[in-house]
Each structure stands twice: as structure tokens, then as C-alpha cells.
């Protein structure tokens, strides 16, 4: 394959090694263009241009620098907004270490992560104040809270409370008075600048440490393979490396205006309202879009007409005539009418879904990444999408397949500037995920074709990856479930075949069941239902048990008394009893 046709020329970004250079680039090239647009409830929408954004980033850098936050760890807890981006870019640009937090995590997890990452200052949105107030007593290292998008007076106890807008005003005054001397240096490409928590390749929650150079590896690599159009919509959580770097930072490089979706509940409505040309999504979102389109066709009684048009359109496409946008305009109107490009990652994509969207004129660029690689390792390029592949390796990345089988499948191992510095305060975990010669072990099984496109076939570990891209460590749920419901003797957490939800196989303590006079699996299940619901209330949505099954014997175990999960998975596929 001719790489000159595959790669997009990107001389301007080739020497960038810190994120702030992307900010400077966007300001220089698209100063007055809208960088972000976001809904503000009943107050309509608000916008900010690239030059205003940079001015705010600089102001925040100056105020944090002058207040002594140099090299401090600063967390961001809140929904997607340009204030969130301002904080992130200010902190990583010479100030300290940014710790993006998942606002959907339960209070205990938020508290643990804030404490573990040695955070001293938290930027918090109004919606997350309650959560932060509950964790503050357990996080004695936190000295300052900065409230974003609110001027509400909030009681944070002993902790100093500041306001985002006030810090911006203060920073602007400092720059006016002292010029660039008010700003910290940004020339620190290899220092730790970001900690992002992930379930990781081995399950337990770990803080992935990234430098500016790591992230720029992803951005430069993506820039060679993709170029974003003029408008996009951000629908994934902003704290995820995929959304933050592959979408929002790459958009800034391309001068793309990004609409911030305010709530997952409003995703479809906002896509229709803002009518973006692209988005970055997880497979679950693509499935929802396909269902919406199909329903619209069915409601209009146009299934036959659609099938006939699709046949003609696909035949024309093969000979280079693309009429899809015109032929399927009524269908695309439900998505605002402009959507033509979706980057997909985070979980396995159904080729059927991608093919359907291609038929109506939306190209899906499937990709593959992992937080530990900042996060993109491969993505299908603009020049050539290959079906079933998770994409072409980024030019900033090298991959190899360890111990390949007869079909060339083995563990995918990666090397390159995208690869993380390590896990925060976890040298043993870090050691485990690197080979002796320094390659990162992804835990994913796959192969690479002769054109450098990657294909994924499975996973080495037990991690469940849901279609929304969330990683669930089954062992973590099992421990929590047994703790919450003490009469569970053994349990195994699995995903259903289509991976839509998490299910538990439960072996209750027979003695306690006898004492409770519960005999049949039906009686035991009815008794346990309330306790499982109570468990679910304390868990984030993606970690909830959708349903459970009572088993009547202990699970098969190996010589070290570990439950043999692979046997359970194999037996479940055949729909036989699980405790053989």
C-alpha cells in the first residue's frame, strides 16, 4: 500500500511535543472560530472562540502559578464543558498534574482516587458539589476547591473555596501587569502531567501516568490518519482519555467546533439540534442510532422502499457514484442531516452496524486504544477503511504479536511514545504490564495484516468490556457482592452473550439457606432479590447486576482453589448447568 496516499501531510504538528502547542496552533489558525458551544439550560447556549479559550487558559495558568499550585495535583470533577477543558489545558501547560475524575463513580471510589492521587485542589462543577462534600472528610490532602460554572455559596468546611471566574479575572490582571513572566514554562514534555484512573488490563483500579509527549504521540498519529470536519458533538464522558484526547484535542488541532452534550439523556435530541458532521462514540451509541433510523423507516412503512434504494445506492457506490447523502436525506434528518463521520472505539463494534451506517452515508472509522497508550493505538484512516479491522497502526506506534498461533493471533504488544510512564504509586503493577524488553502488554489477542491494519479476536484477562466502553472487572463485583450479601458463599460475574449487561451466578451458603427454610432456587432467588437491588443502588449503572441465577453446587476449581472461569464461560454457551 502506498503510504503517501494513506497518510495526511502534517508538517505543522510534527515537532509538537506539548499540548499547549495545539492551543497556540488553533489560536493562530482559527482565532475567531467557535471552539465550543454548550447548552446552558433555560439560558440557551453559550460559545467560546479559540482565542478566548486560550486567553482563559493563560489566565488560569497565571493565577494557579501565582497561588503556588506549581507541580500540585489538581483534580477535575464535572460534566463536559469548556470550563473543564480550560482547567485541563491550564494544568497540563506548566502548572501541575491534572487528574480527570469520573463523576459517575460512587462516592467511595471518588474519595479513594482523590486520596490515592495526592490531589490538593479540586475543580468541581455545581452538579458534583454534593459528591465532593461527602468525600472531603476522607481526603485530608485537599486544601482547595474551585467551583466551576456556578456562583453559589457552598459550605466546604475547612477547605478553601474559590471560584473559576474569579481565578480567570485574577489571572488576566496578572498577565496585564507582568506579561509572560506571570506564566509558568510549558517546555516539559516528559514530566508527569496527567493521571487517569482505569480498570486497566488486569482489573484493579489504577492511575495511568501520562506526559505531554505521550498524549502528543496519539494526537500526531491521529493527525496523519484522520482529519475532522468543521463541526462535531461530544457525547462521551470528558474524563475518558478517548474523548479527551482522540476527540477534543484532535478537534482543536483541526479547528473543529465541538458542541458539548450536557447529558447522555439528551444525546439524540442534541445531535438533531446541533446537526454536527461527526462524533466519537462507543458501539452502544451506534446501535441506538441504527435502531432510531430503522424505526423511522418502519414507522413510515418504507422498509421495502429503503431496501430497494439501498441496493441501488450500494451498487452505484461500487462504481464510484455516491448518492447516499441525497437518497437518504430524509433518514439522516433525524440526526440533524449533516452527520457523516463517526469514530468508534472503546468496545467491539458489530460490522453489521457499521455496514448499515455506511449504506445511509455515515462512515464509521473503527479504532483501538487503551488508556495506557494515551489512548489510541490504531484507527481506520480517512483514506481506507477496512471492514472488521480496528484500524491502521498509528505511525507513532509499533506493534508486535507475542507467541502467535497458527493463524497469527497472539497478544498485541505496543511500543512507542504514546505508551504511559507507568501506574501511579504501583511499581509492581507497572512491571507486570511491560515485557522485559519494554513493550506494553495490552492483554488483547489479535493479529496485524501486511498493510499494518490490526484485528482483535479476544482477551487474555477476565475483564468484561461493555458496548459503552466501560470496563468491568468481574472479581471486583464478586467481592463487593459477597460483602454486601453475607449468605452468598460463592459467586461468578459474567456478561451475557451480547455483552449488554452483567449477570451473577450465585451459590448461596446451604446452611444459612436451611436456617431460613429456603429450599428451591426459586425461593432463594425471591428472597435475594431485595438484597441485590440494594447492592445495585450503591453501584454505578454499568456495574449493576442485571439479573442473577442460583446454582446448587459449588463452582469447579483448580488445584489452588480458584474458580475456573473458562469452564463456566464454555458451559454457559452450551446452556448447560454451570456447576459441573
Amino acid at each position: 500500500m502506498d503510504l503517501s496516499k494513506l497518510y495526511i501531510p502534517t508538517e505543522d504538528v510534527e515537532n509538537f511535543n506539548v499540548l499547549y502547542q495545539i492551543v497556540e496552533h488553533a489560536t493562530k489558525k482559527y482565532p475567531d472560530k467557535t471552539a465550543y458551544c454548550q447548552p446552558e439550560g433555560r439560558n440557551g447556549d453559550s460559545e467560546i472562540s479559540f482565542s478566548e479559550l486560550r486567553s482563559n487558559i493563560d489566565a488560569l495558568r497565571a493565577s494557579l502559578f501565582s497561588r503556588g499550585f506549581k507541580n500540585k495535583h489538581i483534580a477535575i470533577l464535572g460534566e463536559s464543558s469548556y470550563q473543564w477543558m480550560t482547567v485541563y489545558l491550564a494544568v497540563v501547560s506548566g502548572v501541575g498534574v491534572a487528574v480527570p475524575m469520573d463523576k459517575e463513580n460512587p462516592v467511595q471510589t471518588v474519595g479513594k482516587q482523590l486520596d490515592h492521587s495526592d490531589v490538593e485542589c479540586v475543580f468541581c462543577s455545581a452538579r458534583c458539589v454534593k459528591k465532593l462534600q461527602s468525600v472531603l472528610p476522607f481526603c485530608p490532602k485537599i486544601k482547595t476547591v474551585v467551583l466551576m460554572r456556578t456562583d453559589l455559596e457552598v459550605d466546604m468546611g475547612e477547605v478553601e473555596t474559590l471560584y473559576f471566574d474569579a481565578l480567570i479575572g485574577e489571572g488576566k490582571a496578572l498577565i496585564k501587569e507582568n506579561g509572560s513572566a506571570a506564566l509558568p514554562e510549558t517546555n516539559d514534555p516528559d514530566l508527569l502531567r496527567v493521571i487517569i484512573y482505569t480498570s486497566g488490563t488486569t482489573g484493579a483500579n489504577k492511575g495511568v501516568m501520562l506526559s505531554n509527549r505521550n498524549i502528543m504521540g496519539t494526537l500526531r498519529g491521529c493527525a496523519r490518519l484522520l482529519h475532522y470536519p468543521k463541526t462535531s458533538i461530544s457525547v462521551l464522558p470528558i474524563n475518558h482519555s478517548y474523548e479527551l484526547h482522540a476527540h477534543l484535542m484532535s478537534s482543536m488541532y483541526c479547528g473543529t467546533t465541538v458542541f458539548m452534550n450536557d447529558d447522555l439523556k439528551h444525546m439524540l435530541k442534541n445531535i438533531e439540534r446541533f446537526a454536527p458532521e461527526m462524533s466519537c462514540m462507543v458501539p452502544m451509541m451506534l446501535d441506538l442510532i441504527v435502531r432510531k433510523i430503522k424505526k423511522q423507516i418502519a414507522d413510515g412503512g418504507k422498509e421495502k422502499k429503503f431496501a430497494a434504494t439501498a441496493k441501488i445506492s450500494n451498487a452505484l457506490l461500487k462504481v464510484g457514484v455516491d448518492l447516499r447523502r441525497r437518497l437518504f436525506a430524509p433518514v439522516l434528518a433525524v440526526l440533524g442531516g449533516n452527520l457523516r463521520m463517526i469514530i468508534c472505539g472503546g468496545a467491539a463494534l458489530s460490522q453489521e452496524t457499521a455496514d448499515f451506517l455506511r449504506t445511509v452515508g455515515i462512515t464509521v472509522y473503527n479504532g483501538y486504544g487503551i488508556t495506557e497508550c494515551s489512548p489510541v493505538a490504531a484507527v481506520n484512516p480517512l483514506a481506507k477503511v477496512r471492514r472488521f479491522s480496528v484500524g491502521h497502526l498509528l505511525p507513532t506506534m509499533t506493534a508486535r504479536i507475542a507467541d502467535p498461533d497458527e493463524n497469527g493471533n497472539g497478544e498485541i504488544q505496543l511500543f512507542g511514545e504514546n505508551v504511559m510512564l507507568g501506574y501511579y504509586k504501583a511499581p509492581l503493577d507497572t512491571k507486570q504490564v511491560f515485557t522485559e524488553d519494554g513493550w506494553f502488554r495490552t492483554g488483547d489477542i489479535g493479529h496485524i495484516d501486511k498493510f499494518n491494519y490490526l484485528y482483535i479476536n479476544g482477551r487474555l484477562k477476565n475483564l468484561i468490556i461493555l458496548p459503552n466502553g466501560k470496563n468491568v472487572c468481574p472479581e471486583e463485583i464478586e467481592v463487593a457482592l459477597k460483602k454486601k450479601i453475607p449468605y452468598i458463599k460463592e459467586c461468578v460475574v459474567v456478561a451475557d452473550e451480547s455483552n449488554t449487561g452483567i449477570y451473577a451466578l450465585v451459590y448461596p451458603d446451604p446452611e444459612q439457606m436451611r436456617d431460613l427454610q429456603l429450599e428451591t432456587p426459586g425461593e432463594i432467588k425471591a428472597y435475594m432479590e431485595n438484597d441485590v437491588q440494594a447492592f445495585n443502588r450503591d453501584m454505578p449503572g454499568f456495574k449493576r447486576i442485571a439479573d442473577f441465577e442460583i446454582v446448587s453446587q459449588e463452582f469447579a476449581k483448580n488445584t489452588t482453589h480458584k474458580i475456573q472461569r473458562f469452564k463456566i464461560a464454555a458451559v454457559r454457551k452450551k446452556e448447560e448447568p454451570v456447576n459441573v
Binding site: 447529558d263 447522555l264 439523556k265 439528551h266 444525546m267 439524540l268 435530541k269 452502544m284 451509541m285 441506538l288 435502531r291 424505526k295 461493555l466 458496548p467 459503552n468 451475557d496 449488554t500 449487561g501 437491588q533 445495585n536 443502588r537 449503572g541 454499568f542 449493576r544 442485571a546 439479573d547
Partner: protein, 74 residues
């Protein structure tokens, strides 16, 4: 209210109308994923001009619980 919610639900799941009862569970019985549930909630909010707090969804597992929640607020 139950009828209205059932109509909206049928846009998201592929089951017979009669199979949806007040005790039907979103996750276990209808196999809905979190995005389907959130999108349906957004649709109900628009249609009924109410706000359903995402945190409150933690305690809603069946259609009956959702009906009760909405009826308290409409």
C-alpha cells in the same frame, strides 16, 4: 401513566406489548442497556415536562417504580 410509558418503551425494546407489565424490570426482563434507559428517560422528560434526576434512577428497577416516581412529580 403506565400505558404512556409502555408506548415509549416499545420504541426501545423488541417485545410484545402484552409482555410488558408494571413489574417488568428494565435490565433483567427487557435487557435494556444503560444508554437505552437514559435516552428513554430523556424522551419522557420532554413529553411530560419534568426533570428526572440521574441519581434517582439508582432506585428505579421496574416500570411500576418509574410510574410512581413520575406521578409524584407531574
Amino acid at each position: 401513566m403506565f400505558e404512556r410509558i409502555r408506548e415509549v418503551l416499545l420504541e426501545y425494546v423488541d417485545v410484545e406489548k402484552e409482555d410488558i407489565t408494571p413489574d417488568t424490570r428494565f435490565l433483567a426482563d427487557l435487557k435494556m442497556n444503560s444508554l437505552d434507559i437514559m435516552t428513554m428517560i430523556g424522551q419522557l422528560e420532554d413529553e411530560m415536562d419534568i426533570i428526572i434526576e440521574t441519581e434517582d434512577l439508582n432506585s428505579i428497577f421496574t416500570i411500576r417504580q418509574l410510574v410512581d416516581y413520575i406521578e409524584e412529580r407531574v
